[in-house]
Amino acid sequence: MTTTAPEKKATRPGVAVAARLFGGGSATVFALLVLVFVAILFLNPSFFEPPSLMAFAKKAAPLVVLAVGQYLVIVCGELDLSVGSLVGAQVVIAAAVIDGQESRTVPVLLLMLAFGVLVGLVNGLVVTVLKVHSLIATLGMMLVLYGAIRLWTGGAPTGALSEGFRQVGREGIDMPVLRQLPWALLVAAAVVVVAVVFMRKPFGRTLVAAGDNEKAAAFAGVRVWWVRTIAFVLSSVLATLAGVLIGGYAGVTAQVGEGLEFTAITAVVLGGVVLGGGRGTVLAAMAGALTVEALFTLFNQLSLPSTIRPTVQGLIIVAAVAWAARERRRPFLPQS
């Protein structure tokens, strides 16, 4: 049922843990993450002063949350292209309905949650019941959300977010050394911890099993369609949470959320999670997200011309994923 490297008892527990973390191509992303941070340290040691790190965490938190959501979908063999549009839609909905009134914050958060669940449910059911390939189903959802939200607001976002709504993405707990511990960091950390625990529970394992071998999972009594639908719902709910963080971080702009789906998928794959399902860990997906954000920071520290950055980013991603693929063929632990 399980798939991450070997589940059988390794001789030394340390090796087993390492294999869990770094096996199956995930070592690359941790190595790359360390490498990028070392490069940043070399260029600008002051980046590692606590306030700067906290600023980085605040910025990276939404992508981590999105990557965890995308991980859940990818590990069960699907793909969710609608998250970028959903983030945009949620922020626009929040601004339009809250319209600057503090008292509406909590009801609107609930509304957003309901909307997120609805979108995820539709995605999931279209994929599992109507048997539409997830790339097409979520591509369609992306178009529908993009158009519908603009149709509703007349083309550009209206209204305003309340201060309370923006707290989570923008503010934090004031404290001495860090200056401020961002709420966003706490949220992202909580999401990751919950996801790690979740993946160890039976449901998480069935999720992986569904992605690894649908048929075998079905024979073993897993309701594959239901498991996958839940994964889509979770992805949409996490995208909603990411929307709350991004909206809080930077407010409403017309372009909010654009292209995030590809960044999130890139982050997850960079983490050694295999498109097609069955392989990879939450922590590796998180590391992928952090690596992507760290790369953007590195480019900035290098003062790399803005226009050439996509090229470098593309090269690094392809190289890293190729390297991980090579690793996967030479497993961390020898298979007995």
């Binding site: 063999g77 793909l79 279209v126 109507l130 048997k131 539409v132 390939h133 790339l135 097409i136 189903a137 591509l139 369609g140 959802m141 992306m142 178009l143 529908v144 993009y146 158009g147 519908a148 603009r150 149709l151 083309g155 690894d212 071998n213 649908e214 048929k215 079905a218 594959v224 369609w225 590809f262 998928i265 890139t266 794959v269 295999v274 498109l275 097609g276 399902g277 011309p305 803005s306 226009t307 050439i308 950055r309 996509p310 090229t311 470098v312 980013q313 593309g314 090269l315 991603i317 392809v318 994923v321 190729a322 693929a325 090579r326 996967r328 063929r329």
Partner: protein, 355 residues
């Protein structure tokens, strides 16, 4: 979830026929709506409009069909188009004598990119989604750095490719149709074309039956990039110059949608170019009808999304029935999207031994 052969009547319909039935349906509904609005969908102006809209996406989707049939994917086509429009226009530089040179350079560059894509996917085993997304980023960076805007000039003679037409048939559409016919012949009559179905059905099974899967994948990627290159040339002819901003027009996802609308399985192994043509035409008809009916641009996106999902859901219903009736081969294992069983067409395993 294993319902078995409930609709024998539908099974007698091939998937391509289904798609053309869908096209017919869209045409009829469109024509009725336009007629209610007081227009004629099949008037020369509208006909020209539909065909023109189909030509550009037609080239891209044609190429995309090859890679999708192989179970791969190409997200870099938009960037290849942009790059090729610029290379074509700057090479021609307004000189009619340099048109052939421009075409050759574009095709060579496009083929080179396709070769790289194919090698990254087949040799380095990078998932095609990421490989071509990365390739797209690489090209984007090059474009943004090198070209600060539209560049180059296309001589009037080559602009004909984008503008002139024979009665109601635009030249670009005619060329696209010829390419489609050649593509169909290639898939049906050539050995590599035939192998594409096998590779898409199951790479492992194909390899075990002696097919050089890597070579087939690379060929598909090269063909796809070349088709995108031709689309880039058409862009240059239409614009009179090359433009980098084409990459933001979404031809990558559009072309995948068209291929899948055309009945080709996204997991590979089943489908064909004739269906893709219908998929492209469905999208073009929708665009024209929306335009005539003055549909709000944002509502257009919503409708497009719904139509794509609905159409694919309808095709999928049939495929479930079929899938259940055949034994499933073991999963592919290494990377790649989940594999589907071998295609309906018998794979000529004997021919595969071309070593």
């Amino acid at each position: 979830m294993t319902t078995v052969d409930r609709k024998p009547r539908l099974r007698s319909l091939g998937s391509t026929e289904m798609v053309y039935l869908a096209l017919l349906g869209v045409l009829v509904i469109g024509a009725v709506l336009v007629a209610v609005d007081g227009g004629n969908l099949f008037g020369t102006a509208n006909l020209v409009d539909m065909l023109t809209r189909s030509s550009l996406l037609g080239f891209v989707a044609l190429g995309q069909t090859f890679v999708i049939l192989c179970g791969s994917l190409d997200l870099s086509v938009g960037y290849v188009m942009a790059l090729c429009s610029l290379i074509g226009a700057t090479t021609m530089a307004g000189d009619p004598a340099k048109v052939p040179l421009g075409i050759v350079v574009v095709l060579v560059v496009a083929a080179g990119i396709g070769l790289l894509n194919g090698l990254i996917v087949s040799v380095l085993k990078v998932n095609p989604f990421i490989a071509t997304l990365g390739m797209g980023l690489i090209i984007k960076g090059y474009l943004d750095t090198t070209y600060k805007g539209p560049a180059g000039e296309v001589p009037a003679s080559f602009q004909q490719f984008g503008y002139s037409r024979i009665a109601f048939l635009p030249v670009s559409t005619a060329v696209m149709l010829i390419a489609v016919v050649l593509g169909i012949l290639y898939l049906r009559r050539s050995r590599t074309g035939y192998h594409m179905f096998a590779v898409g059905g199951s790479q492992d099974v194909a390899r075990l039956s002696g097919i050089r899967t890597g070579r087939v994948l690379v060929t598909a990627h090269v063909l796809c990039a070349v088709a995108a290159g031709v689309a880039g040339l058409l862009i240059a002819a239409r614009f009179g110059t090359g433009s980098a901003l084409v990459y933001s027009s979404g031809y990558d996802l559009d072309s995948i949608a068209a291929v899948v609308l055309g009945g080709t399985l996204l997991m590979g192994g089943r489908g064909g170019i004739a269906g893709t043509l219908a998929g492209v035409l469905i999208l073009a008809v929708l665009d024209t009808v929306f335009n005539i009916l003055q549909v709000d641009p944002f509502f257009k996106d919503v409708l497009r999304g719904v139509v794509i999902i609905a159409a694919v859901a309808i095709y999928a219903r049939r495929q479930i029935d079929r899938r259940a009736s055949r034994p499933r081969f073991g999963p592919g294992g290494n990377g790649g999207p989940p594999k589907d069983p071998v295609p309906d067409e018998p794979v000529p395993a004997g021919q595969g031994a071309d070593r």
